[in-house]
């Protein structure tokens, strides 16, 4: 067999490593800013683009897609070439992948603070960027699959299975969740409405965690942990079972984000049940990681890289156990909408993704520069400070979650809420929020020390952009070999492997989503629920622009303490015109689904100008620009027509003039109403539209004609 000579492309890995470090620190800094604003709301300096509602999505997008995303690419580009004994198929595609991804991130950094958002969590970016994401993702996938097809290694290692599943699933999730109708350049409406939109969103959101934060990182774990430890992988058959079980079961669990909401009961229960079944497949990965270190624990003691990896895998095991517990209906009743969820995701994010990335970078950078780590001491310092940072971050938030829930649900014996004022339950949490800021600072400090250490390391070594390697060419084999197991066979068949992964991940999504969309009885319609008026629609778009849904839910759950606090619990039929849905996932402020009519217009006016004037101590940002800026209703006709396309029953030809006239009439009425309260406000100001929307929220079921008719 003749040896073939080729070179590994290290330059692309280096690019991605740099991006990982830079965006990681950026994303954490944005997160720290957002966290600090919850303690000191004036930290946003009254700048619209710095308000919590706009930078919270920036933080999540930056750490997920920029930090972890670049981390995935760095690790995949390094390991894939070596696991397949070939250079990446196309250097050009590799570069397009890199620069395309950075441009997408940059556009997110610009557009999210500007208020261009679709409001759907972890999918906030607007439609032109969504298209760019799909294209760049496919570029990566094509480059990867072509590399796999041109490999010199017959079988695909378990890490590569995970990469393939990641590629195919994220593509499916992203495309289906991003079905949206463009209204203008940077504005669109989700194709789905209300309950269906919520289900699709959390099918996506949950599996973004699964297939962006978990499966690719499991792939990286399968490469970098055995490499760093110099040990064989513990169990090949555990790899097989947990890989297929994981990707099959994970996809079903999305509805556990919507427990006790208007989602049909059967879908909620499926979400819970598959979450329980998910424990073992998730832990399969943890076991294979930790048990690979069997016999190498003496190395763990000395090697900061392995320490990072051990904590990462432990955190993975913990959050994948906690997740199913949070999916039990009774536990979810406590955790949902509170900081418990935030603590949970940060164990996963800071622990699993962060620590594994750090371990990987500390291993990769010296290796690629043929040197040793500049300072082991600094790496150890990084390890300890970030571990401590995670504890300081998570523990206070767990406590905040329990505290707030107890205060929410506490009744006086006379039968009324003990803390009817939501703000009382928020103020109780401020010490915990302060401790969280401390934890975040520790963690960020560690990351900065790492950046310095890695820069020093690369400077002291010499970078090998193209690493020489040789391997024999692969001979073609047709059909199954005698004695070859089915799985061994599929391991050398990349395209069937890809198709099989696709089939496996599609099952759960189809079973849950199709009936919710197609079977009418899942969403009983309510006759009195009508489309938003033009002004309310514009107000709703302002609500989305300001990111109100990041702190306010619009989903009253069927619990006594919620119906006492907010009013009648939310019904599926109330959301049929909500493109997109705005249920939210966290209540830093109170639920707003029954906000309509609770407070006078003048209260909202004062409250938006300065929340603390109406609610002393409130941590909500000020929105003074809403009072001074004119509403841009230039796209109104396009918006109405888009809504009509999506099935919202505005009268024929409503967009031509009548909509604008209605908008002005309603605005004038609100302005007159404000004038009664001695507030002079021109009817074309943004605040008027927002008030119109807020006063409409949740009121339809109270209108006199409200006869709840269930569709046959």
């Amino acid at each position: 067999m003749s040896q073939e000579r080729f070179q590994y492309d290290n330059a692309i890995v280096k690019l991605f490593i740099r991006a990982t470090v830079i965006w990681g620190i950026t994303g954490m800094l944005v997160g720290l800013t957002a966290a600090s604003q919850l303690v000191w709301p004036e930290l946003n300096a009254n700048l619209a683009w710095l308000t919590f509602g706009r930078i919270r999505p920036l933080h999540t997008n930056a750490v997920i897609f920029a930090f972890v995303g670049n981390g995935i690419f760095a690790g995949v580009y390094y390991s894939l070439q070596r696991l397949l004994k070939t250079r990446m198929w196309s250097d050009a595609l590799s570069r397009i992948n890199f620069w395309g991804w950075q441009l997408i991130i940059l556009s997110a950094v610009l557009t999210l603070p500007m208020g261009y958002t679709s409001s759907k969590e972890y999918a906030e970016l607007e439609w032109p960027i969504d298209i760019a994401i799909a294209l760049v993702w496919v570029v990566w996938g094509v480059n990867m699959m072509a590399t796999i097809l041109n490999r010199r290694e017959r079988h695909l290692y378990v890490a590569v299975w995970f990469y393939i599943a990641t590629f195919v699933t994220v593509a499916v999730l992203h495309i289906f969740n991003s079905f949206e109708l463009p209204v203008s350049f940077m504005k669109s409406y989700s194709w789905y409405a209300g309950v269906q939109d919520a289900l699709v969103q959390w099918w996506y959101g949950h599996n973004a965690v699964a297939f962006f934060l978990t499966t690719p990182y499991l792939g990286l774990m399968y490469y970098f942990v055995p490499k760093a430890a110099g040990r064989p992988v513990y169990s090949y058959r555990l790899s097989i079972i947990h890989f297929w079980a994981l990707i099959f079961i994970y996809i079903w669990a999305g509805p556990h984000h919507l427990l006790h909401t208007s989602l049909p009961d059967w879908a909620q229960s499926l979400g819970t049940v598959f979450s329980i079944m998910l424990i073992a497949p998730s832990w399969g990965g943890m076991l294979n990681g930790l048990l690979t270190l069997r016999g190498a624990w003496d190395k763990v003691r000395e090697d900061p890289i392995l320490k990072f990896m051990v904590v990462a895998i432990s955190a993975y095991g913990m959050s994948t156990f906690e997740g199913p517990m949070l999916s039990l209906k009774s536990v979810n009743a406590i955790s949902h909408f509170t900081d418990w969820t935030i603590a949970h995701v940060h164990i996963g994010g800071l622990g699993w993704n962060g620590m594994l990335t750090f371990g990987m970078l500390y291993w990769l950078v010296p290796k690629m520069h043929s040197t040793t780590l500049y300072s082991k001491k600094a790496a150890n310092f990084h390890f300890w400070i970030s571990t401590l940072g995670i504890l300081f971050y998570a523990l206070p938030l767990y406590w905040a979650g329990f505290t707030q829930y107890f205060m929410w649900q506490e009744f006086r014996p006379e039968g009324m809420l003990k803390y009817p004022n939501f703000l009382d339950t928020v103020l109780q949490l401020l010490p915990m929020y302060t401790m969280r800021v401390v934890g975040g600072t520790l963690y960020l400090t560690g990351a900065i020390v790492m950046a310095w250490n890695l820069a020093k390391t690369s400077r002291q070594g010499s970078f090998i952009a193209n690493e020489d390697a040789e391997a024999p060419a692969l001979e073609t084999v047709r059909g199954r070999l005698p004695g070859e197991s089915i799985h061994r066979w599929i391991e050398r068949k990349p395209m069937p492997l890809l198709v099989m992964s696709l089939v496996v991940i599609l099952i759960g999504g189809l079973v849950e989503i199709l009936p919710t969309i197609l079977v009418k009885s899942n969403i009983p319609t309510i006759a009195s629920v009508k489309p938003y008026t033009p002004l309310e629609l514009e107000g709703r778009d302002l609500y989305i622009r300001e990111g109100c849904n990041n702190c306010h839910s619009q989903m009253v759950r069927p619990f006594r303490h919620e119906t006492e606090r907010y009013g009648e619990y939310s019904k599926a039929g109330e959301f049929v015109y909500d493109h997109p849905f705005l249920w939210g996932s966290k209540r830093t402020g109170p639920d707003l689904h029954r906000e309509g009519g609770r407070m006078p217009d003048s209260w909202h006016y004062h409250h938006m100008y300065d929340p603390r004037s109406m609610s002393p101590g409130s941590i909500m940002p000020r929105y003074p620009w809403l009072l001074t800026d004119d509403l841009d209703a230039s796209n109104l006709a396009a918006k109405i027509e888009a809504m009509q396309t999506l099935g919202v029953p505005y009268p024929e030809g409503y967009a031509d003039g009548q909509a604008q006239a209605d908008l002005e009439a309603q605005a004038n009425a609100i302005a007159a109403n404000l004038l009664d309260a001695d507030i002079e406000c021109a009817p074309q100001k943004e605040i008027i539209a927002l008030i119109a929307y807020l006063q409409r929220l949740g009121t339809d079921i109270n209108t006199p004609v409200a006869e709840n008719t269930v569709a046959p």
């Binding site: 513990y234 009817p420 209260w603």
Partner: protein, 413 residues
């Protein structure tokens, strides 16, 4: 069964102190952990010990069976007879461990019950001594209780895990003292002869092969130098997987087939009915169920004080701290939009005037509190606020308090 247990513990009221205690336990655990780590200079590292056992190269086709959801028995790998430390088979070990876990859980629940009774008893004693019950921030419901138990168990579990890892990794903080080769050999021999009980349990749970036997398990492939072993699936993991699948099916059946557990809407109806009954019973027992027809204007210091407190908390945002008005009308003059007698005020506060921005307070305030805040508002009549709002509504005669006694009280204020 869970329902039975929940019912058994359904009333957790009165254990106000529990969250604090659990916090205390939790943080002391955390502190101990750090003390432990810091003092770990000479800690003993319990290497993951392994016992020789027969090799079994089980079937690899389990994957397809998994996807087909076939019977667990098809999954099971060929059972390998274990080394007979303590003369027990691995199934016995698993049963024993499982029972221990159950027992521990039961003990925790039992301890909670005892604790609950104790606190209730103390509260009773206290109540006899002084009528006013100390207000507490937390009252636990059963779901909250379960949440706390789960949360704490889970946090402790995590910390144990972290502790174990930290213990292992922190060893590098100290210089290793190399024992004499001979002593080392003796120690090694002793270790092999007498593995600790934990090591044996760990080995049984995972069905490890010994590290020495590892070369036999190496599969004949390597990827970029990474080799793979053909270890059995850890039995605890495999059986845990089966259990979770069974538990999932039971959960589903419980809600959707047998209907033992109520679905959302039904659960809500039950919760509301129970609460209504409880509230009704409580109010009946207190006989302070005043309403807009029976309320009377009586000036008493305690009433005014409570009324003033409530006013400062809820009303001043709109009516100003001194009642001079703001978003809402002036409450100190003789002009009233919705009537100026105590019954009118009671009605306005209780039901609100939503059209004009006055919310209904009946969900926030008890009837007595509405009565007291109304009383306080009437007592403001005739005072001079800092920035009085112009009069709104109709002129009315000022309301007169009942009884001369009360008038004296006003005079003394």
């Amino acid at each position: 069964m869970m329902r039975y247990i929940k019912h058994h513990l359904s009333s957790m009221d009165g254990i106000e102190i529990w969250p604090l205690i659990s916090l205390l336990i939790f943080f002391s655990f955390f502190v101990l952990l750090f003390v432990y780590v810091m003092r770990m200079r000479k800690g003993y590292i319990d290497e993951v010990s392994s016992q020789p056992l027969n090799d079994s190269k089980g079937t690899k086709a389990t994957l397809l069976l998994l996807l087909l959801g076939s019977a667990p028995s098809l999954f099971a790998q060929e059972a390998a007879p274990f080394g007979t430390h303590y003369g027990l088979s691995d199934d016995v070990w698993i049963v024993m461990l499982g029972s221990t876990a159950l027992l521990l859980t039961a003990m925790i629940i039992g301890a909670m019950g005892i604790f609950k009774n104790l606190v209730e008893h103390l509260a009773e004693v206290k109540a006899k001594q002084q009528a006013a019950v100390v207000a507490s921030m937390f009252v636990l419901t059963d779901s909250a209780f379960w949440g706390l138990v789960t949360a704490n168990l889970f946090l402790m579990g995590y910390l144990l895990l972290v502790m174990r890892n930290i213990r292992l990794v922190s060893k590098e903080l100290k210089p290793q003292i190399q024992p004499e080769p001979e002593a080392q050999a003796v120690a090694e021999e002793a270790r092999v002869k007498q593995p600790s009980m934990w090591a044996v349990i760990w080995q049984k749970l995972n069905a490890h092969e010994s590290l020495e036997k590892e070369p036999d398990l190496l599969l004949d492939h390597a990827y970029d130098g990474i080799q793979e072993l053909d270890n059995r699936l850890p039995p605890w993991w495999l059986y845990g997987f089966y259990v979770s699948i069974v538990a999932g099916v039971i959960y589903l059946f419980n809600y959707h087939i047998f209907g033992y557990a109520p679905l959302m809407d039904e659960a809500y109806e039950i919760e509301m009915a129970e609460a209504a009954a409880e509230t009704e019973a409580y109010l009946a027992s207190l006989a302070l169920n005043v309403d807009e027809r029976t309320v009377e204007y009586v000036l008493e210091e305690s009433r005014l004080n409570q009324g003033a407190g409530l006013f400062a908390k809820h009303c001043k945002a709109c009516h100003a701290a001194d009642g001079g008005g703001g978003v809402g009308p002036n409450l100190t003059d003789n002009y009233w939009l919705h009537g100026g007698q105590i019954n009118d005020l009671f009605t306005t506060i209780k039901y609100g005037v939503p059209a004009k921005g006055m919310k209904s307070w009946k969900a926030d305030l008890t009837p007595t509190e509405i009565q007291n805040v109304s009383t306080y508002i009437l007592s403001l009549n005739g005072t001079t606020p800092l920035a009085p709002k112009d009069p709104q509504g109709d002129l009315e005669e000022p309301a007169q308090p009942k009884g001369s006694e009360a008038n004296e009280a006003t005079a003394s204020l």
